[in-house]
């Protein structure tokens, strides 16, 4: 069902690398916005799982990043850009279970190598672009109709 909104709703969150205490806060706020708009529960869950995984990747691997979203009557568009080391082999990184996370990250419950596959699984369109030494950009779209 298309959303009854006149103009697209936009939002932006800064994510600081290494800040595990705030992990998921951007996704939590996005969830609240989507709840206010009466978006279907299943779509909210898929969108925020995708953004939570993206947040975690920034926190684990990058110095900082930004999550931007645009909600239109028919789509949720999400873009996450980070200033991180970049991904050498994207195909390998997209493999379930493949992870380069250090042991201390795993001890905190993350780095199981499911993040990128989970973002792809939960979005209708998934694009990833990465430059070594510069960072990674992920774009995800979820259809509301």
């Amino acid at each position: 069902m298309a959303l009854d909104i006149e103009n697209p709703i936009e939002g932006s969150f800064q994510i600081i690398g290494g800040n595990f205490d705030n992990a998921g806060e951007a996704s939590s706020q996005l969830k609240n916005r989507l709840l206010e708009l009466n978006v279907n529960d299943d779509i909210i869950r898929r969108a925020t799982i995708a953004t939570f995984e993206a947040e975690m990747n920034v926190i684990i691997y990058a110095a900082a990043g930004r999550l931007n979203f645009v909600i239109t009557p028919t789509q949720i568009q999400i873009r996450i850009e980070d200033m991180g080391p970049g991904i050498e082999n994207i195909e390998q990184a997209m493999t379930e279970g493949y992870s380069t996370a250090p042991e201390w990250v795993r001890a905190m419950g993350w780095g199981a190598g499911m993040g990128l596959p989970n973002m792809k699984k939960n979005s209708d369109v998934f694009k990833i672009d990465s430059v070594i030494g510069e960072g990674t950009t992920i774009e995800m779209t979820l259809n509301l109709t």
């Binding site: 992990a23 939590s28 799982i49 939570f52 975690m56 795993r106 419950g109 780095g111 499911m114």
Partner: protein
């Protein structure tokens, strides 16, 4: 299965102040890796974990997990308990280990969130 029944089966203690014992839980998952929980979760489920990090609460919030059980009587820090209160996610603790806690609930009829 209701939250009240789960508390009985696990001989659990409620960490957060007040809980609605009639909350209906449809399935369970046991994990310390939150990525795995996010990948395999189903809504209205229960998470059994030994991990007590703030991201456990946020994982539950995002994944639609209704309650969290900490095994081996682990008590999370007050800031984590407060976050759970804010998100309205009941926290329990049990003296059982993850294997036994999972087994008791499975035996009592609570299926896996994966369905296998």
């Amino acid at each position: 299965m209701t939250l009240g029944e789960i508390i009985d089966i696990l001989d659990a203690t409620v960490i957060t102040d007040s809980v609605d014992l009639s909350i209906n839980i449809r399935s369970g998952c046991s994990a310390d890796m939150m990525s795995t929980v996010m990948y395999y979760h189903t809504a209205d489920s229960l998470l059994i974990t030994g991990l007590s990090q703030p991201s456990v609460i946020r994982t539950a919030e995002i994944a639609g997990i209704k309650t969290i059980v900490f095994v081996l009587d682990k008590i999370p820090d007050e800031n984590i308990i407060e976050l759970a209160r804010q998100k309205n996610i009941p926290l329990l603790r049990t003296s059982f280990c993850m294997y036994t806690a999972s087994g008791r609930l499975f035996q009592a009829g609570l299926p896996s969130c994966l369905g296998k």
